[in-house]
């Protein structure tokens, strides 16, 4: 549910970017959603869809979502498993359960196309 308030924050940034670039319409927005950032991609897309319908600047804009991979380092054998999918249950090399994640915890606005 917090996805909606994050989309509202995104629209504030888009307004500022459009004003700074003398643009009146957003064509596409590229987001990077880390698998560990606590944001559900579908909910974020849903929030974007319903809020953009009511927003003159963003209406009709396309959202492109990139999901970056996360590196999980095994605390036992130091094997590094890299995946953009769900967290591995155990180290695929040695079976150790304690894996330390690195990356994937941010939600970034990467690129905006506007006119």
């Amino acid at each position: 549910m917090h996805e909606i308030s994050l989309v509202q924050g995104l629209f504030e940034q888009l307004k500022e970017l459009a004003a700074a670039n003398n643009a009146t319409r957003i064509i596409s927005v590229t987001m990077e959603i880390g698998p560990l950032c606590g944001v559900v991609v579908d909910s974020f897309q849903f929030g974007f869809d319903i809020l953009s319908a009511d927003d003159e600047l963003v209406r009709g804009a396309k959202m492109i979502i990139q999901v970056p991979p996360v590196s999980y380092r095994c605390t036992n054998c130091s094997h590094v498993e890299i995946t953009a999918g769900r967290k591995p249950d155990a180290c695929p090399a040695c079976g150790e359960l304690l894996l330390i994640p690195d990356g994937g915890s941010d939600l970034l606005l990467r690129q905006v196309e506007m006119e």
Partner: protein, 254 residues
Amino acid sequence: MCDTCGCPSPSDHSHDHDHSSGHSHSHSKTVDVHASLFAANDALARANREHFDEIGAVALNLISSPGSGKTTLLEHTIEALKGEINIGVIEGDIETERDAERIRAKGVPVIQLTTGGACHLDAAMTHKGFHRLQKEPGGEAIELLFIENVGNLVCPATFDLGEHERVVLVSVPEGPDKPAKYPKAFTSSHTFVITKTDLLPYFDFPVAEAMGDALQLNPKLRTMDLSSTTGNGMESWLNYLRELVKKMRAVKKA
């Protein structure tokens, strides 16, 4: 600049250039941004933390499902630390002043934030709330600030409020699988407290297993289990708070 042909932006399009490249020139432009959507909240959270440091207040963000016993734990904590540590409380709920009234009855400064529907507190609400709290009687001398977040194990985990420590609570009747189901609440917390342990005889809640699940997600997590009503396990919780305040007092003196 236009990303298609490299011409200046439409606003600066008075120059004469050759469009022989033949592309349809819609004057759209693409801007690389790379800005975190958490940046605004995180910046405010840092400012909050600096302010708490400056005035020597330890701030704790309590997150849990609704009904895990956060407010009851605070009532008993306030009783136990009366005369020892100056406590202040920010209560977060969607509606009502009920939790604030319960805390006020214990004689410490408290304010209620009602989010009016939002499922979490953010750094801006915390900032405003703390300034209101400081104007309450006793609010100028707070050494230990509890921020009781909206009951929800999902969304609050994403928002830094400027706390020094985040405490996640799970009560025995909720069942032991919360760490596995709501990992972010546990990976982002410093301390995990199992509450209502007086109900253990009536529920299937393997304490060690739940703690093990949480530690697998976050090996640095401090764990404890307690019952606010019987007082079992309260001492380690109170000592944890005493230790945090002691450290803060030492820093403030130095």
